[in-house]
Symmetry: C2
Subunit: 366 residues, 2 copies
């Protein structure tokens, strides 16, 4: 696994359970996946990545930041890279992703590539004077995304000379996410579509399954994710983030080709977690069952963490108050807005499950 | 954690989830808990154990083989040892255990200490000419246990000069196990009593909860485990192995003061696994809920493992056939009778759950 963040960390228990040795290439000491680190170095450096890749059977990723040139060199040398560069490019570059999805006839927000302030001004004029501007590469968790109402607000990004993506500001009822896992040999498994709530551009809460999604919404979400996974040749977990519009259409917002924050509920809420499924999938092993273990599962992120104590200082109060909630912490130092952990709750009564998850997470704020 | 076996291995995911750093002292490279090993050396050597213990906040155990002298020196130096030597001695020495339980009025099989062939012959004569002979220390998984019908069968053990324990051969209907976790500050949590089936003295299958145990049997088992945990000052997980006699009494067979094979079902079948609960307990953190996630949970051990292929060679067939079963392998080399993994299944229909678990495990035989 290239990258030592919390996604790599959460892959480790799945590897331990399945009896599969796991090795991590991390940038530096003290990252969340430290326990499984076998090498340190930059994922941008071909020699570093190559030396690491030669010690493992299959290479997969904690993030999508390994450059195409590095990925292609690995493949050229016969290394098994899952997902491969031909799929990953669409998770790395939002312009390529938008174009490819449009070519596939998958519903997406209106969009355009913009290289100049004039092009941006024209798009805004055509879309009610507002739009969502995104850098084509490198954005995540609200970074590289900006709502703009005037082309001058893009001046700094345009100066950098990289093409930008502008999209209509979608009037959405809510955001959904459809996760699917796919093996190189083709088998697919989908979890139920979930509802995700963002705060400051960062995933804050997830409800699984998305309330009221039985039937048409679930079917459309599953169809979209299946089409994308197959057409793009994705292997491992694919997360398709969707807008559900006020007129009940689903539009694809973003793609991620790895376990995703909107799938953390599966750690405790599904027969097979997204981390175990990703491992099975990239190793081309038969996929596990994706049923829900409870009627409702709710995930709440711990964003930022405590400011007046350590995370562990809050365990006594939180564990005593919420004995049924499952806690997940990443051994990251608290910092405003930083994802330092999450909690999962499950049960029959959605309001009560939401309450328990929020109550548990709240012990780690302030 | 002292000891690098599969119990230490299965503690690692719990530590990762809770965001608690875990360090293992293993005897040698390549043990199941390799990922978390921080030091190598013998748990019998005071200097090795001391040097390791000084790097952690709390010391706990994968097995009960650390000598009392070593444990007591750790405590004398102010190291937090959970469970402590005053509790562990009763898991280390079956004669001390039997005496203490008898003093507490807890039902146990008829027993005696024997140092000579004459004493053994006398006990056998009083108990229908047969008995179960056990070494006081060092036995596990059927080792150090022998059914005898004549005192001459104990000659080799008596020659060794260590006192032996002889017990009546109990006419039991079945074997049960009651697991409980206890914090130093007193809080206790019990899982439901389970039925365990042995093969060649080794745990082969577990059904949770024990069929037909609601009511009296469950209450008595819980009372016994609570009394033992409190009276002996156990911290962490305590496993009480019980005989259910043909006349429906419960007699204590063995004690283990650590996660136990009869609790492996909790990894997938309970809100809180025995490994997470052990961690919480030895750290004196509030305990998690111990409810069952399914009506029935069945654990089947993989004993020995394949003889004509590696374990991983069997993944394709096993995973494809049993997508709902959870697989746990310990990265141990197959060897006849060796515990190399286990599988967990859960559901509403006990017969069907047993079938699935056995079918999954069977892929790893022969």
């Amino acid at each position: 696994m290239i990258g030592g963040g919390q996604l790599a960390r959460m892959m480790v228990p799945a590897a331990i359970n399945l009896g599969i040795p796991i090795r991590v290439l991390a940038e530096r000491e003290g990252e969340p996946a430290a326990l499984a680190v076998a090498a340190y170095g930059s994922h941008l450096d071909l020699d570093t990545v190559l030396a690491f890749a030669e010690t493992v059977d299959v290479v997969t990723f904690d993030h999508e930041h390994v450059p195409q040139a590095v990925l292609r060199e690995l493949v050229a040398r016969g290394i098994d890279v899952q997902p491969g560069p031909d799929a990953l490019r669409f998770a790395q570059n939002k312009l390529e992703m938008r174009q490819r999805l449009a070519d596939l006839g998958i519903p997406v927000p209106d969009w355009a590539r913009v290289d100049t302030a004039e092009q941006l001004a024209e798009f805004l004029a055509d879309h009610g004077g507002k739009g969502v501007l995104k850098t084509a590469t490198g954005g995540y968790d609200g970074k590289g995304v900006r709502v703009v109402r005037d082309a001058s607000e893009a001046a700094d990004w345009l100066l950098a000379g990289e093409p930008l993506l502008v999209e209509e500001l979608v009037e959405f009822r809510r955001e959904l996410a459809q996760l699917v896992a796919r093996r190189p040999s083709g088998e697919l498994a989908l979890w139920p579509v979930v509802e995700s709530m963002q705060r400051d551009g960062v995933c804050a809460e997830v409800i699984a399954p998305a309330p009221g999604s039985a039937g048409n919404v679930a079917d459309v979400a599953a169809d979209i994710a299946t089409t994308v996974a197959e057409a793009l040749g994705v292997t491992g977990v694919l997360a398709v983030e969707l807008f559900e519009t006020t007129d009940e259409r689903l539009l694809v917002n973003e793609l991620a080709m790895r376990p995703h924050n909107t799938g953390h509920w599966t750690l405790d809420g599904s027969t097979t977690s997204q981390f175990e499924q990703h491992l099975r999938a990239v190793l081309d092993l038969p996929l596990g069952a994706t049923g829900c273990r409870d009627e409702w599962a709710v995930m709440v992120n711990v964003l930022g963490g405590p400011t007046t104590a350590t995370i562990a200082d809050r365990y006594d109060a939180a564990f005593a108050d919420q004995p049924t909630v499952k806690f997940h912490f990443y051994e990251k130092t608290p910092r405003p807005g930083r994802k330092v952990g999450h909690v999962n709750a499950g049960g029959d009564d959605l309001d009560e499950v939401v309450y328990r998850a929020r109550a548990a997470a709240a012990f780690f704020e302030g």
